[in-house]
Symmetry: C2
Subunit: 159 residues, 2 copies
């Protein structure tokens, strides 16, 4: 009797695998990324009215020299239409300059203007402060581990 009841329960349970949402890595990744980015994006959103995509483009261009839109797409795992529109916005804001490549007239070389570089300096400072808070919270060791793991994931799954 009792045994049968158990069987029924188990039968009903059998439809469920023993899947645990709270251990599911894509879920945890999204939660952590969303919560973190929501907090951080407030710092530049209010200050410069900047999109996340726009922030990323600024960050990439601030790193080094001129980049092409496609290169930014690849590095940042972004859609080309997203980049295209974000770039338009930054150009209107005078933070960014386009120059059609001499070697390939389809491609446009993107680079920061003077004021773009100034804004980037502020953004970088904000970012570094935020990063330090996170590292302090996690501990430097674990923060490095985390960075390593996240990088592997992004690389591995990339097409």
């Amino acid at each position: 009797m009792r045994q049968l009841q158990c069987d029924d329960v188990l039968g009903a349970m059998a439809e469920m695998t023993d899947f645990r949402l709270n251990d599911f890595l894509p879920y945890l990744l999204n939660n952590a990324a969303e919560v973190t980015s929501r907090t951080f994006s407030a710092s530049y959103r209010k200050k410069f009215g900047m999109t996340r995509a726009q922030w990323r483009i600024m960050a990439h261009l601030g790193q080094g020299g001129a980049l092409t839109a496609t290169e930014i797409c690849a590095r940042g795992h972004l859609e080309k239409s997203k980049v295209s529109r974000a770039v338009s916005g930054l150009e209107e804001g005078g933070l960014l300059r386009r120059m059609t490549s001499s070697s390939d007239r389809r491609a446009e070389l993107l680079s920061l203007t003077e004021s773009g570089r100034k804004v980037h300096a502020i953004l970088a400072a904000q970012a570094q402060e935020f990063q330090q808070e996170m590292e302090a919270r996690l501990g430097p060791e674990r923060a490095r581990h985390l960075a390593q793991l996240l990088d592997e994931l992004a690389q591995a799954e990339a097409d």
Copy 2:
């Protein structure tokens, strides 16, 4: 001469802090989350035409009993409007049922229907398979560490 040039370069550099985008945790988090979720979401998107938000709600409701929209918001770090619309979609699809709470007529208790449970079983199986792939790629140890770190981040920053 050479020295002066260097100074000039360093002067220009000085505007840049030594910020390195590739070590910036919010950036890495977003990349990893985006790349991972893009891969995974294909599995249910094409099969059930389901949104990421809808998947999440299914997953939460599949875990246990009935939940209120607000509870789902809190657990999944989602906007209430997002949840509201996702729930409407799931209800139209017959996967989910609403029942106004007897103790609070504002709140609605959400629970899966029979077909909702069946769909959830498939989703859970897909998820588990995906999880195993990820764990195999990272190694079980490191996967657990990662989960732990991500959980901390989501908790810490949460309001």
